[in-house]
Protein backbone atom coordinates (compact mmCIF):
# COMPACT_ATOMS: atom_id res chain seq x y z
CA UNK A 1 0.00 0.00 0.00
CA UNK A 2 1.29 3.45 -0.91
CA UNK A 3 2.22 5.73 1.97
CA UNK A 4 -0.53 8.15 2.94
CA UNK A 5 -0.03 11.67 1.60
CA UNK A 6 1.20 14.14 4.22
CA UNK A 7 -1.73 16.55 3.78
CA UNK A 8 -4.08 14.07 5.40
CA UNK A 9 -2.52 14.69 8.80
CA UNK A 10 -2.61 18.47 8.31
CA UNK A 11 -6.28 18.31 7.43
CA UNK A 12 -7.01 16.07 10.41
CA UNK A 13 -8.37 13.20 8.33
CA UNK A 14 -8.86 10.11 10.52
CA UNK A 15 -6.92 6.95 9.62
CA UNK A 16 -9.94 4.86 8.69
CA UNK A 17 -11.80 7.56 6.75
CA UNK A 18 -13.25 6.67 3.35
CA UNK A 19 -15.22 9.85 2.68
CA UNK A 20 -14.09 13.03 4.35
CA UNK A 21 -15.82 16.38 3.79
CA UNK A 22 -14.84 19.69 5.32
CA UNK A 23 -16.72 22.92 4.59
CA UNK A 24 -18.11 21.63 1.28
CA UNK A 25 -19.96 24.37 -0.57
CA UNK A 26 -21.85 24.23 -3.84
CA UNK A 27 -23.77 26.93 -5.66
CA UNK A 28 -25.83 26.80 -8.82
CA UNK A 29 -25.61 30.35 -10.04
CA UNK A 30 -26.76 32.51 -7.17
CA UNK A 31 -28.46 29.60 -5.40
CA UNK A 32 -26.31 28.23 -2.61
CA UNK A 33 -27.27 24.56 -2.16
CA UNK A 34 -24.44 23.39 0.12
CA UNK A 35 -23.24 25.85 2.71
CA UNK A 36 -20.35 24.08 4.42
CA UNK A 37 -20.94 20.36 4.89
CA UNK A 38 -18.65 18.54 7.35
CA UNK A 39 -18.78 14.77 7.40
CA UNK A 40 -16.56 11.75 7.97
CA UNK A 41 -17.56 8.25 6.92
CA UNK A 42 -15.21 5.57 8.28
CA UNK A 43 -14.42 2.39 6.38
CA UNK A 44 -17.03 -0.35 6.62
CA UNK A 45 -19.81 1.85 7.99
CA UNK A 46 -23.20 2.81 6.62
CA UNK A 47 -24.14 6.48 6.75
CA UNK A 48 -27.76 7.37 6.04
CA UNK A 49 -28.54 10.94 5.03
CA UNK A 50 -32.08 12.20 5.55
CA UNK A 51 -33.59 15.63 5.22
CA UNK A 52 -36.32 17.62 3.51
CA UNK A 53 -36.21 18.03 -0.28
CA UNK A 54 -33.97 20.89 -1.29
CA UNK A 55 -31.74 20.38 1.74
CA UNK A 56 -28.82 19.48 -0.55
CA UNK A 57 -28.45 15.80 0.30
CA UNK A 58 -28.48 14.57 -3.29
CA UNK A 59 -26.19 17.39 -4.39
CA UNK A 60 -23.73 16.45 -1.67
CA UNK A 61 -23.79 12.83 -2.82
CA UNK A 62 -23.13 13.92 -6.42
CA UNK A 63 -20.24 16.07 -5.23
CA UNK A 64 -18.55 13.00 -3.76
CA UNK A 65 -17.94 11.43 -7.18
CA UNK A 66 -17.59 14.80 -8.88
CA UNK A 67 -20.77 14.63 -10.94
CA UNK A 68 -21.06 18.14 -9.51
CA UNK A 69 -18.00 20.33 -9.14
CA UNK A 70 -17.44 21.81 -5.70
CA UNK A 71 -17.66 25.56 -5.25
CA UNK A 72 -15.56 25.38 -2.09
CA UNK A 73 -14.26 23.23 0.75
CA UNK A 74 -12.50 19.89 0.50
CA UNK A 75 -13.82 16.45 -0.21
CA UNK A 76 -11.61 13.36 -0.03
CA UNK A 77 -12.42 9.78 -0.96
CA UNK A 78 -9.93 7.31 0.52
CA UNK A 79 -7.50 10.18 0.97
CA UNK A 80 -7.76 11.44 -2.63
CA UNK A 81 -9.26 14.59 -4.07
CA UNK A 82 -11.48 13.22 -6.82
CA UNK A 83 -11.39 16.03 -9.36
CA UNK A 84 -8.11 17.63 -8.34
CA UNK A 85 -4.44 17.07 -7.52
CA UNK A 86 -2.96 18.94 -4.57
CA UNK A 87 0.47 20.31 -5.49
CA UNK A 88 2.32 23.19 -3.80
CA UNK A 89 -0.79 24.23 -1.94
CA UNK A 90 -2.89 24.47 -5.11
CA UNK A 91 -5.65 22.21 -6.39
CA UNK A 92 -5.03 21.38 -10.04
CA UNK A 93 -7.99 20.08 -11.98
CA UNK A 94 -7.27 16.61 -13.32
CA UNK A 95 -7.75 15.27 -16.85
CA UNK A 96 -10.87 13.33 -17.82
CA UNK A 97 -8.91 10.06 -17.82
CA UNK A 98 -7.60 10.55 -14.27
CA UNK A 99 -10.99 11.69 -13.00
CA UNK A 100 -12.59 8.59 -14.49
CA UNK A 101 -9.99 6.29 -12.95
CA UNK A 102 -10.70 7.75 -9.51
CA UNK A 103 -14.44 7.70 -10.06
CA UNK A 104 -14.30 3.99 -10.82
CA UNK A 105 -13.57 3.46 -7.10
CA UNK A 106 -16.87 5.09 -6.19
CA UNK A 107 -20.02 3.21 -7.04
CA UNK A 108 -23.27 5.07 -7.49
CA UNK A 109 -26.87 3.90 -7.55
CA UNK A 110 -29.39 6.37 -8.94
CA UNK A 111 -32.99 7.02 -8.09
CA UNK A 112 -34.04 6.30 -11.69
CA UNK A 113 -31.70 3.28 -12.08
CA UNK A 114 -30.12 4.61 -15.28
CA UNK A 115 -29.33 1.18 -16.66
CA UNK A 116 -27.97 1.28 -20.22
CA UNK A 117 -31.19 0.56 -22.08
CA UNK A 118 -29.53 -0.87 -25.21
CA UNK A 119 -27.66 -3.52 -23.24
CA UNK A 120 -28.77 -6.67 -21.46
CA UNK A 121 -28.42 -6.91 -17.69
CA UNK A 122 -25.22 -8.90 -18.22
CA UNK A 123 -23.76 -6.36 -20.66
CA UNK A 124 -24.62 -3.58 -18.20
CA UNK A 125 -22.41 -5.35 -15.65
CA UNK A 126 -19.51 -6.20 -17.94
CA UNK A 127 -19.24 -2.93 -19.91
CA UNK A 128 -17.27 -0.84 -17.42
CA UNK A 129 -14.99 -3.62 -16.06
CA UNK A 130 -13.96 -4.53 -19.62
CA UNK A 131 -13.66 -0.98 -21.00
CA UNK A 132 -12.39 0.88 -17.96
CA UNK A 133 -10.42 -1.71 -16.02
CA UNK A 134 -9.38 -3.91 -18.92
CA UNK A 135 -10.73 -7.06 -17.30
CA UNK A 136 -10.74 -9.95 -19.82
CA UNK A 137 -14.25 -10.52 -21.21
CA UNK A 138 -14.60 -14.05 -19.84
CA UNK A 139 -13.55 -13.03 -16.39
CA UNK A 140 -15.93 -10.05 -16.43
CA UNK A 141 -18.76 -12.32 -17.51
CA UNK A 142 -18.12 -14.83 -14.72
CA UNK A 143 -17.99 -12.03 -12.19
CA UNK A 144 -21.19 -10.52 -13.61
CA UNK A 145 -23.04 -13.83 -13.30
CA UNK A 146 -21.85 -14.15 -9.71
CA UNK A 147 -23.07 -10.62 -8.91
CA UNK A 148 -26.44 -11.16 -10.57
CA UNK A 149 -26.80 -14.31 -8.49
CA UNK A 150 -25.94 -12.30 -5.41
CA UNK A 151 -28.80 -9.87 -6.07
CA UNK A 152 -31.10 -12.78 -6.91
CA UNK A 153 -31.34 -12.19 -10.67
CA UNK A 154 -29.19 -14.97 -12.12
CA UNK A 155 -32.02 -15.92 -14.49
CA UNK A 156 -32.39 -12.37 -15.87
CA UNK A 157 -28.88 -12.02 -17.33
CA UNK A 158 -30.05 -11.83 -20.94
CA UNK A 159 -32.98 -9.49 -20.27
CA UNK A 160 -33.05 -5.86 -21.37
CA UNK A 161 -33.82 -3.24 -18.71
CA UNK A 162 -37.26 -2.55 -20.20
CA UNK A 163 -38.21 -6.18 -19.60
CA UNK A 164 -37.45 -5.92 -15.87
CA UNK A 165 -39.53 -4.49 -13.05
CA UNK A 166 -38.31 -1.38 -11.24
CA UNK A 167 -37.08 -3.41 -8.29
CA UNK A 168 -35.20 -5.79 -10.57
CA UNK A 169 -33.68 -2.88 -12.51
CA UNK A 170 -32.45 -1.31 -9.30
CA UNK A 171 -30.91 -4.59 -8.17
CA UNK A 172 -29.11 -4.86 -11.52
CA UNK A 173 -27.94 -1.26 -11.05
CA UNK A 174 -26.52 -2.17 -7.63
CA UNK A 175 -24.77 -5.21 -9.14
CA UNK A 176 -23.40 -2.97 -11.91
CA UNK A 177 -21.88 -0.63 -9.35
CA UNK A 178 -20.43 -3.59 -7.42
CA UNK A 179 -18.83 -4.96 -10.61
CA UNK A 180 -16.22 -2.18 -10.38
CA UNK A 181 -15.21 -3.27 -6.88
CA UNK A 182 -15.77 0.18 -5.42
CA UNK A 183 -14.37 1.37 -2.09
CA UNK A 184 -17.63 3.10 -1.30
CA UNK A 185 -21.14 2.85 -2.67
CA UNK A 186 -23.37 5.93 -2.94
CA UNK A 187 -27.15 5.51 -3.05
CA UNK A 188 -29.26 8.44 -4.26
CA UNK A 189 -32.79 7.71 -3.00
CA UNK A 190 -32.60 4.16 -4.40
CA UNK A 191 -36.19 3.24 -3.56
CA UNK A 192 -38.01 6.51 -4.23
CA UNK A 193 -38.97 5.62 -7.82
CA UNK A 194 -40.27 2.16 -6.92
CA UNK A 195 -43.76 0.84 -6.38
CA UNK A 196 -44.25 0.18 -2.65
CA UNK A 197 -44.27 -3.61 -3.02
CA UNK A 198 -40.87 -3.54 -4.78
CA UNK A 199 -39.06 -1.48 -2.13
CA UNK A 200 -38.44 -4.50 0.11
CA UNK A 201 -36.36 -6.51 -2.37
CA UNK A 202 -33.99 -3.60 -2.99
CA UNK A 203 -33.62 -2.82 0.72
CA UNK A 204 -32.86 -6.52 1.33
CA UNK A 205 -29.96 -6.40 -1.16
CA UNK A 206 -28.66 -3.24 0.52
CA UNK A 207 -28.96 -4.86 3.95
CA UNK A 208 -26.88 -7.83 2.77
CA UNK A 209 -24.31 -5.47 1.31
CA UNK A 210 -24.01 -3.59 4.58
CA UNK A 211 -23.51 -6.88 6.41
CA UNK A 212 -20.69 -7.80 4.05
CA UNK A 213 -18.81 -4.73 5.28
CA UNK A 214 -19.32 -2.42 2.28
CA UNK A 215 -18.93 1.27 3.05
CA UNK A 216 -22.18 2.92 2.05
CA UNK A 217 -23.67 6.41 1.98
CA UNK A 218 -27.42 6.27 1.52
CA UNK A 219 -29.65 9.25 0.84
CA UNK A 220 -33.05 7.90 1.76
CA UNK A 221 -36.55 8.49 3.04
CA UNK A 222 -36.69 4.98 4.54
CA UNK A 223 -36.33 5.83 8.22
CA UNK A 224 -36.84 2.17 9.14
CA UNK A 225 -33.89 1.14 7.00
CA UNK A 226 -31.73 3.89 8.50
CA UNK A 227 -32.57 2.78 12.02
CA UNK A 228 -31.92 -0.89 11.33
CA UNK A 229 -28.86 -0.79 9.05
CA UNK A 230 -27.28 2.62 9.51
CA UNK A 231 -24.25 3.17 11.73
CA UNK A 232 -24.67 6.91 11.43
CA UNK A 233 -27.69 9.05 10.76
CA UNK A 234 -27.13 12.47 9.25
CA UNK A 235 -29.89 15.03 9.10
CA UNK A 236 -29.25 17.67 6.47
CA UNK A 237 -31.16 20.90 6.39
CA UNK A 238 -30.64 24.05 4.37
CA UNK A 239 -27.27 22.95 2.97
CA UNK A 240 -25.56 21.91 6.21
CA UNK A 241 -25.44 18.85 8.47
CA UNK A 242 -27.94 19.92 11.13
CA UNK A 243 -27.61 16.86 13.33
CA UNK A 244 -25.64 13.64 13.33
CA UNK A 245 -25.81 10.64 15.63
CA UNK A 246 -26.52 6.99 16.24
CA UNK A 247 -29.74 6.28 14.31
CA UNK A 248 -31.72 4.65 17.13
CA UNK A 249 -30.95 7.39 19.63
CA UNK A 250 -31.43 10.20 17.15
CA UNK A 251 -34.78 8.90 15.95
CA UNK A 252 -35.95 8.29 19.53
CA UNK A 253 -34.83 11.64 20.89
CA UNK A 254 -33.70 14.18 18.28
CA UNK A 255 -31.81 17.14 19.75
CA UNK A 256 -32.55 19.88 17.23
CA UNK A 257 -36.14 21.07 16.81
CA UNK A 258 -35.81 20.90 13.00
CA UNK A 259 -34.87 17.21 13.19
CA UNK A 260 -37.78 16.55 15.52
CA UNK A 261 -40.14 18.34 13.16
CA UNK A 262 -38.84 16.45 10.09
CA UNK A 263 -38.94 13.03 11.78
CA UNK A 264 -42.46 13.71 13.00
CA UNK A 265 -43.53 14.46 9.43
CA UNK A 266 -42.08 11.30 7.84
CA UNK A 267 -42.58 8.65 10.56
Amino acid sequence: MAPKPSYLKDLGVPEDSIVFARGVRKSFGSLEVLRGVDLNVPKGTVACIIGPSGSGKSTFLRCINHLEELSGGILLVDGEFIGYDLRNGKLYEVRDRVLCKRRSNIGMVFQSFNLFSHMTALENLTEAPIRVKGVPANEAKDQAYALLKRVGLADKAEFYPRQLSGGQQQRVAIARALAMNPKVLLFDEPTSALDPELVGEVLQVMRDLAKSGMTMIVVTHEIGFAREVGDDLIFMDNGVVAEQGVPKEMIASPKSPRTREFLASVC
Binding site: D96, F116, S117, H118, A128, R131, K133, R162, Q163
Partner: protein, 303 residues
Amino acid sequence: MSRSAHPGPVDTYTVVPLRHYGLWIGTVISLAIICLIAKSLITNPVFDWPIAGKYLLHPSIMRGLGQTLLLTVTIMFLAITIGTIVAIMRLSPSTILNAFAGAYIWFFRGAPALIQLIFWFNLSMVVREVSITLPFVGTLFTAKTNDFMTPFVSAVVALSLHEAGYMAEIVRAGINSVGKGQTEAAGSLGMTRRMTLWRITLPQAMRFIVPPTGNETINLLKTTSLVTFIAVNDLLYSAQAIYARTFETIPLLMVVMFWYLFVVTILSIGQYFIERYYGRSDIDQGRTLGRILGDTFKTRNRN
Protein backbone atom coordinates in the same frame (compact mmCIF):
# COMPACT_ATOMS: atom_id res chain seq x y z
CA MET B 1 -71.37 -10.08 -25.00
CA SER B 2 -74.54 -11.32 -23.43
CA ARG B 3 -77.86 -11.16 -25.15
CA SER B 4 -80.19 -8.40 -24.18
CA ALA B 5 -82.44 -9.29 -21.30
CA HIS B 6 -85.41 -7.78 -23.15
CA PRO B 7 -85.71 -9.28 -26.63
CA GLY B 8 -88.10 -7.48 -28.88
CA PRO B 9 -88.02 -4.29 -30.96
CA VAL B 10 -84.28 -3.81 -30.30
CA ASP B 11 -83.38 -6.40 -32.96
CA THR B 12 -86.06 -5.48 -35.47
CA TYR B 13 -84.96 -1.92 -36.41
CA THR B 14 -83.00 -1.49 -39.64
CA VAL B 15 -79.87 0.69 -39.52
CA VAL B 16 -79.73 3.25 -42.36
CA PRO B 17 -76.11 4.25 -43.07
CA LEU B 18 -75.30 7.96 -43.37
CA ARG B 19 -74.82 9.03 -46.99
CA HIS B 20 -71.43 10.72 -47.55
CA TYR B 21 -72.22 12.75 -50.67
CA GLY B 22 -68.89 14.61 -50.52
CA LEU B 23 -67.05 11.29 -50.53
CA TRP B 24 -68.96 10.15 -53.61
CA ILE B 25 -68.26 13.36 -55.51
CA GLY B 26 -64.58 13.13 -54.62
CA THR B 27 -64.43 9.53 -55.76
CA VAL B 28 -66.02 10.36 -59.10
CA ILE B 29 -63.62 13.26 -59.70
CA SER B 30 -60.59 11.13 -58.81
CA LEU B 31 -61.69 8.37 -61.15
CA ALA B 32 -62.21 10.90 -63.94
CA ILE B 33 -58.70 12.32 -63.44
CA ILE B 34 -57.15 8.84 -63.43
CA CYS B 35 -58.97 7.99 -66.67
CA LEU B 36 -57.84 11.20 -68.36
CA ILE B 37 -54.19 10.64 -67.37
CA ALA B 38 -54.32 7.01 -68.46
CA LYS B 39 -55.86 7.99 -71.80
CA SER B 40 -53.18 10.60 -72.39
CA LEU B 41 -50.37 8.22 -71.42
CA ILE B 42 -51.69 5.57 -73.80
CA THR B 43 -52.91 7.60 -76.76
CA ASN B 44 -50.70 10.71 -76.82
CA PRO B 45 -48.00 9.93 -79.41
CA VAL B 46 -45.52 12.23 -77.62
CA PHE B 47 -44.93 9.59 -74.94
CA ASP B 48 -43.89 7.08 -77.56
CA TRP B 49 -43.52 4.13 -75.19
CA PRO B 50 -41.69 1.85 -77.63
CA ILE B 51 -38.88 4.44 -77.77
CA ALA B 52 -38.84 4.68 -73.97
CA GLY B 53 -38.63 0.87 -73.82
CA LYS B 54 -35.75 0.90 -76.26
CA TYR B 55 -33.72 3.30 -74.09
CA LEU B 56 -34.65 1.78 -70.72
CA LEU B 57 -31.56 -0.45 -70.58
CA HIS B 58 -29.41 1.61 -72.99
CA PRO B 59 -25.70 1.39 -71.96
CA SER B 60 -25.31 5.13 -71.52
CA ILE B 61 -28.47 5.32 -69.36
CA MET B 62 -27.06 2.44 -67.29
CA ARG B 63 -23.74 4.27 -66.91
CA GLY B 64 -25.66 7.38 -65.81
CA LEU B 65 -27.63 5.38 -63.26
CA GLY B 66 -24.38 3.91 -61.93
CA GLN B 67 -22.92 7.39 -61.62
CA THR B 68 -26.03 8.64 -59.78
CA LEU B 69 -25.88 5.73 -57.32
CA LEU B 70 -22.13 6.20 -56.80
CA LEU B 71 -22.70 9.91 -56.09
CA THR B 72 -25.51 9.15 -53.62
CA VAL B 73 -23.52 6.56 -51.68
CA THR B 74 -20.30 8.60 -51.57
CA ILE B 75 -22.04 11.84 -50.59
CA MET B 76 -24.20 10.17 -47.94
CA PHE B 77 -21.18 8.45 -46.40
CA LEU B 78 -19.25 11.73 -46.21
CA ALA B 79 -22.32 13.65 -45.01
CA ILE B 80 -22.90 11.23 -42.13
CA THR B 81 -19.25 11.43 -41.11
CA ILE B 82 -19.00 15.22 -41.31
CA GLY B 83 -22.49 15.65 -39.84
CA THR B 84 -21.63 13.54 -36.79
CA ILE B 85 -18.47 15.54 -36.16
CA VAL B 86 -20.37 18.83 -36.50
CA ALA B 87 -23.11 17.56 -34.17
CA ILE B 88 -20.54 16.60 -31.53
CA MET B 89 -18.96 20.04 -31.88
CA ARG B 90 -22.38 21.63 -31.54
CA LEU B 91 -22.84 19.87 -28.19
CA SER B 92 -19.33 20.64 -26.94
CA PRO B 93 -18.92 22.82 -23.85
CA SER B 94 -16.54 25.07 -25.82
CA THR B 95 -18.37 28.18 -27.01
CA ILE B 96 -16.08 28.52 -30.04
CA LEU B 97 -16.61 24.95 -31.27
CA ASN B 98 -20.31 25.31 -30.63
CA ALA B 99 -20.53 28.59 -32.55
CA PHE B 100 -18.40 27.22 -35.40
CA ALA B 101 -20.70 24.22 -35.76
CA GLY B 102 -23.74 26.51 -35.58
CA ALA B 103 -22.35 28.70 -38.34
CA TYR B 104 -21.55 25.64 -40.44
CA ILE B 105 -25.13 24.41 -40.22
CA TRP B 106 -26.53 27.87 -40.84
CA PHE B 107 -24.49 28.34 -44.01
CA PHE B 108 -24.31 24.94 -45.66
CA ARG B 109 -27.89 24.02 -44.89
CA GLY B 110 -29.16 27.50 -45.69
CA ALA B 111 -27.49 28.15 -49.06
CA PRO B 112 -29.26 26.47 -52.01
CA ALA B 113 -27.61 23.24 -53.15
CA LEU B 114 -27.44 24.35 -56.79
CA ILE B 115 -25.57 27.55 -55.94
CA GLN B 116 -23.08 25.65 -53.76
CA LEU B 117 -22.59 23.19 -56.59
CA ILE B 118 -21.80 25.91 -59.14
CA PHE B 119 -19.53 27.64 -56.62
CA TRP B 120 -17.36 24.58 -55.97
CA PHE B 121 -17.28 23.83 -59.68
CA ASN B 122 -15.84 27.31 -60.22
CA LEU B 123 -13.47 27.15 -57.24
CA SER B 124 -10.50 27.77 -59.54
CA MET B 125 -11.70 31.36 -59.95
CA VAL B 126 -11.24 31.85 -56.21
CA VAL B 127 -8.20 29.66 -55.61
CA ARG B 128 -5.96 29.13 -58.65
CA GLU B 129 -3.71 26.53 -57.11
CA VAL B 130 -3.18 24.75 -53.84
CA SER B 131 0.28 24.25 -52.41
CA ILE B 132 1.84 23.20 -49.15
CA THR B 133 4.88 25.28 -48.29
CA LEU B 134 6.93 24.82 -45.14
CA PRO B 135 9.30 27.53 -43.93
CA PHE B 136 12.98 26.62 -44.54
CA VAL B 137 11.95 23.52 -46.48
CA GLY B 138 10.20 24.98 -49.50
CA THR B 139 7.17 23.93 -51.43
CA LEU B 140 6.26 20.29 -50.93
CA PHE B 141 3.25 20.03 -53.14
CA THR B 142 1.43 22.14 -55.71
CA ALA B 143 -1.68 21.41 -57.72
CA LYS B 144 -3.80 23.49 -60.02
CA THR B 145 -7.34 23.72 -58.69
CA ASN B 146 -8.71 22.86 -62.14
CA ASP B 147 -6.74 19.62 -62.17
CA PHE B 148 -8.33 18.10 -59.11
CA MET B 149 -11.69 19.89 -59.01
CA THR B 150 -13.28 17.73 -61.68
CA PRO B 151 -17.06 17.96 -62.06
CA PHE B 152 -17.46 14.75 -60.07
CA VAL B 153 -15.24 15.95 -57.22
CA SER B 154 -17.01 19.33 -57.11
CA ALA B 155 -20.35 17.55 -56.96
CA VAL B 156 -19.19 15.31 -54.10
CA VAL B 157 -17.68 18.21 -52.14
CA ALA B 158 -20.64 20.56 -52.63
CA LEU B 159 -23.42 18.11 -51.89
CA SER B 160 -21.54 16.40 -49.01
CA LEU B 161 -21.08 19.71 -47.23
CA HIS B 162 -24.71 20.66 -47.91
CA GLU B 163 -26.11 17.32 -46.79
CA ALA B 164 -23.82 17.26 -43.72
CA GLY B 165 -25.66 20.37 -42.51
CA TYR B 166 -28.88 18.36 -42.38
CA MET B 167 -27.19 15.27 -40.93
CA ALA B 168 -25.62 17.35 -38.15
CA GLU B 169 -29.06 18.45 -36.98
CA ILE B 170 -30.40 14.91 -37.15
CA VAL B 171 -27.47 13.48 -35.17
CA ARG B 172 -27.69 16.30 -32.64
CA ALA B 173 -31.39 15.64 -32.05
CA GLY B 174 -30.61 11.94 -31.68
CA ILE B 175 -27.89 12.54 -29.09
CA ASN B 176 -30.14 14.95 -27.20
CA SER B 177 -32.84 12.30 -27.04
CA VAL B 178 -30.65 10.13 -24.80
CA GLY B 179 -31.30 10.99 -21.17
CA LYS B 180 -28.72 12.72 -19.01
CA GLY B 181 -28.93 9.82 -16.54
CA GLN B 182 -27.20 7.55 -19.05
CA THR B 183 -24.10 9.72 -19.27
CA GLU B 184 -24.07 10.23 -15.51
CA ALA B 185 -24.27 6.48 -14.94
CA ALA B 186 -21.42 5.93 -17.41
CA GLY B 187 -19.38 8.66 -15.70
CA SER B 188 -19.97 7.18 -12.26
CA LEU B 189 -18.61 3.86 -13.57
CA GLY B 190 -15.41 5.60 -14.61
CA MET B 191 -16.08 5.71 -18.36
CA THR B 192 -14.39 8.62 -20.13
CA ARG B 193 -16.43 11.10 -22.15
CA ARG B 194 -15.29 9.60 -25.45
CA MET B 195 -16.08 6.06 -24.30
CA THR B 196 -19.51 7.22 -23.12
CA LEU B 197 -20.25 8.84 -26.47
CA TRP B 198 -19.32 5.79 -28.56
CA ARG B 199 -20.54 3.03 -26.27
CA ILE B 200 -23.56 4.55 -24.52
CA THR B 201 -24.94 7.68 -26.17
CA LEU B 202 -24.60 7.06 -29.93
CA PRO B 203 -25.94 3.48 -29.93
CA GLN B 204 -29.06 4.69 -28.14
CA ALA B 205 -29.34 7.77 -30.36
CA MET B 206 -29.42 5.49 -33.42
CA ARG B 207 -33.12 4.74 -33.10
CA PHE B 208 -33.80 8.44 -33.54
CA ILE B 209 -31.12 9.02 -36.16
CA VAL B 210 -31.80 6.18 -38.60
CA PRO B 211 -35.35 6.93 -39.81
CA PRO B 212 -34.71 10.56 -40.84
CA THR B 213 -31.39 9.48 -42.36
CA GLY B 214 -33.34 7.15 -44.62
CA ASN B 215 -35.46 10.10 -45.70
CA GLU B 216 -32.35 12.15 -46.36
CA THR B 217 -30.88 9.38 -48.52
CA ILE B 218 -34.00 9.31 -50.69
CA ASN B 219 -33.94 13.09 -50.92
CA LEU B 220 -30.27 13.12 -51.80
CA LEU B 221 -30.74 10.57 -54.58
CA LYS B 222 -33.06 13.05 -56.28
CA THR B 223 -30.95 16.10 -55.41
CA THR B 224 -27.99 14.57 -57.24
CA SER B 225 -29.83 15.27 -60.51
CA LEU B 226 -28.67 18.87 -60.00
CA VAL B 227 -25.15 17.80 -60.97
CA THR B 228 -26.37 17.80 -64.56
CA PHE B 229 -25.72 21.58 -64.40
CA ILE B 230 -21.98 21.04 -64.00
CA ALA B 231 -21.84 18.26 -66.60
CA VAL B 232 -21.42 15.23 -64.39
CA ASN B 233 -22.50 12.16 -66.34
CA ASP B 234 -25.40 11.24 -64.09
CA LEU B 235 -28.72 9.67 -65.05
CA LEU B 236 -30.42 12.89 -66.14
CA TYR B 237 -27.33 14.15 -68.00
CA SER B 238 -27.07 10.89 -69.95
CA ALA B 239 -30.69 11.18 -70.98
CA GLN B 240 -30.23 14.82 -71.99
CA ALA B 241 -27.22 13.86 -74.08
CA ILE B 242 -29.42 11.45 -76.01
CA TYR B 243 -32.50 13.63 -76.51
CA ALA B 244 -30.39 16.62 -77.49
CA ARG B 245 -29.50 14.53 -80.53
CA THR B 246 -32.74 12.68 -81.21
CA PHE B 247 -35.36 15.13 -79.85
CA GLU B 248 -37.11 12.21 -78.09
CA THR B 249 -37.34 14.35 -74.98
CA ILE B 250 -40.45 12.99 -73.28
CA PRO B 251 -39.72 9.27 -73.72
CA LEU B 252 -36.24 9.77 -72.26
CA LEU B 253 -37.58 11.78 -69.33
CA MET B 254 -39.95 8.86 -68.71
CA VAL B 255 -36.94 6.53 -68.65
CA VAL B 256 -35.15 8.78 -66.15
CA MET B 257 -38.28 9.05 -64.03
CA PHE B 258 -38.69 5.28 -64.08
CA TRP B 259 -35.18 4.70 -62.74
CA TYR B 260 -35.47 7.34 -60.01
CA LEU B 261 -38.80 5.90 -58.88
CA PHE B 262 -37.38 2.38 -59.06
CA VAL B 263 -34.44 3.21 -56.78
CA VAL B 264 -36.62 5.30 -54.44
CA THR B 265 -39.01 2.35 -54.10
CA ILE B 266 -36.18 0.02 -53.17
CA LEU B 267 -34.80 2.56 -50.68
CA SER B 268 -38.27 3.04 -49.18
CA ILE B 269 -38.65 -0.68 -48.66
CA GLY B 270 -35.21 -0.79 -47.03
CA GLN B 271 -36.11 2.19 -44.88
CA TYR B 272 -39.32 0.50 -43.77
CA PHE B 273 -37.39 -2.47 -42.45
CA ILE B 274 -34.67 -0.37 -40.82
CA GLU B 275 -37.29 1.75 -39.09
CA ARG B 276 -39.07 -1.33 -37.87
CA TYR B 277 -35.79 -2.64 -36.55
CA TYR B 278 -34.96 0.53 -34.61
CA GLY B 279 -38.52 1.31 -33.63
CA ARG B 280 -39.21 -2.11 -32.17
CA SER B 281 -41.78 -2.05 -29.43
CA ASP B 282 -40.69 -1.30 -25.93
CA ILE B 283 -40.21 -4.98 -25.34
CA ASP B 284 -36.85 -5.70 -26.86
CA GLN B 285 -36.58 -9.06 -28.57
CA GLY B 286 -32.85 -8.96 -29.13
CA ARG B 287 -30.86 -7.75 -32.06
CA THR B 288 -29.79 -10.69 -34.17
CA LEU B 289 -30.39 -10.66 -37.92
CA GLY B 290 -32.26 -13.94 -37.60
CA ARG B 291 -34.72 -12.32 -35.22
CA ILE B 292 -35.30 -9.37 -37.56
CA LEU B 293 -35.88 -11.61 -40.55
CA GLY B 294 -38.01 -13.94 -38.48
CA ASP B 295 -40.03 -10.99 -37.28
CA THR B 296 -40.36 -9.61 -40.79
CA PHE B 297 -41.67 -12.81 -42.30
CA LYS B 298 -43.56 -13.88 -39.20
CA THR B 299 -41.69 -17.13 -38.80
CA ARG B 300 -40.70 -16.60 -35.19
CA ASN B 301 -42.00 -19.25 -32.84
CA ARG B 302 -43.95 -17.99 -29.92
CA ASN B 303 -42.91 -19.64 -26.69
